[in-house]
């Protein structure tokens, strides 16, 4: 299920449908279990097994077939059915039928179903514990464990040693070919989406997202998080400049916190621009590890940089020291967890950790000049929280950025000077009065806050796909 959102660019809406398909599958399973006998259950189990052996590769190949023609919705439907609904249906059909087959007599005040259901819940806890306590297990090992457990279920259902032996043999083949099939499936998927890539370097399902690193024909590497590209093009290098290099250049040897890691490009930009110390805050250890291991770049100086694995809210909530710069090197507010980092409440928390004259730099996830709805809402939120704001938009970066703070010690001309010297002379720069004037064309876009979290409901897939290229 973790892989499904990445098939069609993971947003909160896609995650919603994945989870909905899961619960709908449970209901469907309970419904059909009353209509299946032992024979029906065995046939269902064999059909499920045939499906299981193709996962997760088949999801990518099927999705890729539809994505060649940009049929995103069509790509999602079979993924939801196969990867979520169909799988859950089997497990929820199983329990009631097993109970019927049980010869156990009900004890007073202790219905056998309570014990059966309790055992199932315990099994769920054990499965979750296996994933939580062994997060560094490779995907191949986890999937192999899963396949073996399924074979055991088949063995219990059929009571057949030949099926057990055949099942374990197939598990062996599955383990043997897993990495190759996975790499081929991922490459096929992204080529179907129009990326000119030549090989898969690394993939992982983390507790937060699907992480994939691929390489193109020129040897450049690209990171995809839940199907969104976060590194690998000049556009993304420009992103790092606007998020970190530009604000660090406007401050005097700032102490900086960069939220998000990726390739640590933003941290490098801040250090190059004169930051005296940078802390990278990353919630997903797998992303930080992958960025260090697989993406090019000199090692970051340990006396001027450190990595903290934490949620940004928790980090700033626990931290008492102030910093001069907070760079939000994160994706747009298209998933709920990320949207929380665009709320007025978070910005107030961040502001309380800024020195006087300190700055926060934020990606507007769209073009403010064209009244993009998401950009307008982010700008409105920043206007409400901070006294000063500058918006910078450059056509090369395919979106705008905001620098916000109170009592900033630089002017619009200073921003212009840094942009010109960095080769972004064509960028537009607006100060607060100009930003407020332009905001008036935003049709009353309201700020993002804990009271109004609907920004991820109104995301448009096409705009996101356009940003990636």
């Amino acid at each position: 299920m973790r892989s499904i959102p990445a098939l069609v660019v993971g947003t909160e809406i896609v995650l919603f449908f994945v989870v909905f398909a899961y619960f709908a599958g449970l209901s469907a399973g309970y419904f059909v279990s009353g209509r299946l006998g032992t024979r029906g259950l065995r046939r269902l189990a064999l059909a499920q097994w045939a499906t299981h052996l193709t996962l997760p590769f088949s999801l990518r190949w099927i999705a890729g077939l539809f994505l060649r023609d940009n049929h995103y919705a069509a790509a999602l439907i079979p993924a939801l059915f196969l990867g979520s609904f169909w799988l859950c249906l089997f497990y929820s059909a199983l329990l009631p039928l097993l109970l019927e087959r049980s010869k156990e007599a009900p004890a007073p005040g202790n219905p056998p179903f309570a014990r059966f259901y309790g055992a199932e819940v315990l099994g769920t806890l054990a499965g979750m514990a296996a994933i939580w306590f062994f997060p560094s297990l490779p995907a191949a090992a986890l999937m192999l464990l899963y396949q073996c457990v399924f074979v055991l279920i088949l063995h219990f259902l059929f009571g057949s040693r030949p099926i057990l032996c055949a099942g374990l043999a197939f598990c062996g083949l599955y383990a043997l070919f897993f990495n190759r099939l996975e790499a081929a499936g991922v490459l096929y998927l992204y080529r179907s989406r129009g990326y000119d890539l030549s090989r898969t370097i690394y993939c992982a399902d983390t507790p937060y997202q699907r992480l994939e690193i691929l390489e193109d024909q020129q040897g450049n590497r690209h990171i995809f998080l839940d199907g969104h590209r976060h590194y690998g093009t000049k556009t993304l290098s420009d992103f790092n400049f606007f998020i970190a290099g530009l604000p660090a250049s406007l401050l005097e040897a700032p102490a900086a916190v960069i939220v998000g890691s990726g390739s640590f490009g933003a941290a490098r930009q801040a250090l190059r621009a004169g930051a005296r110390h940078v802390v990278s805050v990353e919630i997903d250890p797998a992303v930080a590890a992958a960025g260090t291991r697989w993406l090019p770049g000199p090692p970051l100086p340990r006396d001027r940089w450190r990595l903290v694995l934490d949620d940004a809210k928790h980090f700033f909530g626990r931290r008492q020291e102030t910093v001069d710069l907070i760079g939000m090197d994160i994706a747009g507010p298209f998933q709920r967890q990320l949207a929380l980092l665009y709320t007025a409440e978070f910005y107030r928390l961040a502001k309380s950790r800024l020195t006087a004259g300190g700055l926060i730099s934020v990606n507007l996830s769209g073009t403010f000049a064209l009244q993009d709805p998401v950009s307008c809402r982010i700008v409105r939120t920043l206007l409400d929280v901070f006294g000063d704001i500058f918006v910078v938009e450059d056509e090369k970066s395919s979106g705008g950025f905001a620098l916000a703070g109170d009592f900033t010690r630089f002017s619009k001309d200073d921003v212009r000077r840094v942009l010109d010297s960095a080769g972004y002379g064509g960028a537009a720069v607006w100060d607060r009065p100009e930003v407020e004037r332009r905001y008036n064309a935003c049709a009353g876009a309201r700020p993002i806050s804990l009271k109004h979290m609907d920004v991820y409901l109104k995301h448009r897939r096409r705009k996101l796909a356009a940003e990636e290229r």
């Binding site: 619960f23 449970l26 005040g109 202790n110 309570a114 309790g118 934490d310 809210k313 928790h314």
Partner: protein, 166 residues
């Protein structure tokens, strides 16, 4: 009785996901928040299922609300404070236990266990969908009011079930 199972699933979905959304903001978005909610809830459910006792639906609803609003109040007063995680897990486990007790209560009254699970899951799905929409559209205000509203609906469904037929 199906209506009661449905209402129970609805209540548990609203409370369970509201716990997660509360901790996501007031504690951390790290996976440990999700793990704490899931582990505590499931553990509580096992305890409730294993217990030989049952409890009246009114008590189950009251326990859920008490646990939820205690957690809410503590999280608001002491944001981002990991020392309260065991307390949060205890509160969530109490709610999970109430779900376990509820299943036992249903299983004793409804011969068709499959029906209990089917209707309870349908109620759970509806509660989850409403939680998604409610939180997206009304945010924090929804988290404050929804568990209480869900508990009232649950009690109304149970009372309706227990009314004598004319």
């Amino acid at each position: 009785m199906t209506r009661t199972a449905f209402a129970g699933g609805f209540l548990f979905a609203v409370v369970q996901f509201s716990y997660y959304l509360l901790l996501e903001w007031h504690l951390s978005s790290a996976w440990t928040s999700y793990a704490a909610v899931a582990a505590a809830w499931l553990s509580g459910t096992v305890i409730g299922l294993a217990s030989r006792r049952t409890a009246a639906p009114g008590i189950l609803a009251a326990v859920n609300l008490a646990a939820y609003y205690c957690l809410w109040g503590t999280a608001v007063l002491f944001p981002f404070d990991d020392r309260f995680l065991p307390l949060y897990m205890a509160a969530i486990a109490m709610s999970g236990a109430s779900a376990g007790f509820f299943f036992r209560w249903c299983f004793l009254r409804m011969a068709d266990a499959r029906g209990v699970l089917f209707h309870e899951n349908n109620g759970f799905v509806l509660g989850w969908v409403l939680n998604f929409l409610g939180y997206s559209l009304y945010g924090y205000s929804y988290l404050l009011a929804a568990p209480a509203a869900a508990a009232l609906l649950f009690l109304a469904a149970v009372k309706f079930h227990s009314l004598p037929r004319p």
